[in-house]
Amino acid sequence: MIPPVLHQGGRWHTLNLVPGQRVYRERLRRVQGQEYREWSVRRSKLAAYLERGGRQFHPRGDERILYLGAASGTTVSHVSDIVARGRVYAVEFSPRPFRDLLHMASQRPNVVPILSDASAPDAFAPYLLHRVPIVYQDIAQRNQAQIFGANAKRFLGQKGLGFLAVKARSINVARAPRETYELVRRDLKAQGLEVRETIELDPFERDHAMIVAQAA
């Protein structure tokens, strides 16, 4: 099988779902007859997570992923490469980046763009028929842990994995980031999730960490 994620020459790549097409200005490379898109660790927290040694993200390729805080869709496009036979529900609340997300999604049949507030799951629940094995969240909100917990409870399947990109500065600017991560972990545990991994994303994203939690 052709690996969807390729680490070569010190850089990360994903197998382009739409060969010949760029999403932003990423570099395209041909490897063994396949086209890959470079996945920058500085532009994508998920790529930074892999670069910093994260081990929990390895989809088979047919999963459905709920992606909260899709922004303009840079990372979403790579996730869409990875779950080529699956689907990404990409939720973004801000109209300006959503415009770019919409444009990207219209080229990729496995992306479902949804303009909605991640803290109001009623609005996007009708889009999902089943619970999903992976929930990914990257929203810079003070209550990001609570929002994540509520969504995990509702949409994450048994033993499903939740990836939470924590921006410590959004939760409390004055507190040391590591203390914030600890508080988030405690929050997640209180909501019935088991914390599997905490990967600090410095220096690619300052004061950010990826916290991976698993549903019971």
């Binding site: 999604a105 763009p113 303009l115 509702r154």
Partner: protein, 363 residues
Amino acid sequence: MPVLVTKWFGVFLVEKGRVERESRFPADARAIADRLLKVRRGDVLEEERQLADARPEVVEARLRGLGDYQGKPRFFDLDIEEPDGKLLHEASILVGRDESRSASAERDRFVGQSVRALDELTKTFNTLVERVREWYGLHFPEALSQLTDPEAFVDQLAKDASREALRRRAPKIAGGESIGVDFSAPQLEAIQGFAGALAALHAERGRLEKLVAAEAASVAPTLSKVVGDLLAAKLIERAGSLERLAHLPSSTVQTLGAETSLFQHIKEHTKPPKHGLLFQHGLINTAPKWQRGRLSRVLAANALLAARIDHFGEGGVTRAEAILARLEAQAKRIKSSKPRTDRPRRNGGPALRRAQPPRRAVR
């Protein structure tokens, strides 16, 4: 009791985990998109009404009228085949396009962009005026101190940049030979052309300012009355939209636009900012320094009240007078107060205590 569950391709009546009855949407992206849009607006679908004849349990607040709502959102994994994903993809794009369009159609987004355009235009104009003054100063430095008004200066240069013309315009310019160097005709022309562009920029700025004021007055009439059109527009821009402004706490409105110093206060325990954008209001910037904090607090409270009336109310400006009267009464009390004299003064007012570190949030 059966539960009514709405999914993107139909409505289902579920009993003990099994679908008892269903009403599917037509297998057409536009038809599905229309229904999803209705759901997002909070409307009840025809299909939902049909299946709700026996008043089932409902799991969304939107469907409260159709049956028994426990207030507990739940998610249902339905044990049914999902139609082709292509349909969902296409429908979601259609929904996204419609919503994207209506989001940018909101008037306060226009206000936000035009305020930013105005701010940048002002900044640019000032920078360029500085440049043309320095530049022309090589030729005729005596004129600079007499023609201090930037608009008059660029207007005159644009029309005629010769020393004689400027002398006619401002007879007070010191007579005799200038200490500046002579400019050749092409050199003078270059400056004249540059000044012409600046004059045009200035005219554009005036037009834009009128437009911003008019937009603010129509989007937020009460707020505009209370703090002035331009400041109202700037507050809306800072908050992101009138809706967001209306939802902010008054203390945030008070320091809106002073984020740098607010965060410096939180992190480094410097003195907290008294005002942000609100400083531009006459009530604040003409007051003695030691009154500004309190004045800014009551101004923020009243401005916010006005913003909330504009956002949640019926429209119109009927309450503006009452708010202005209230603001005036509160301001009067503050203005008649005397500075505290029990501590050594600074800045013409009493020194503040050394700012206390903010209390740690208890969690």
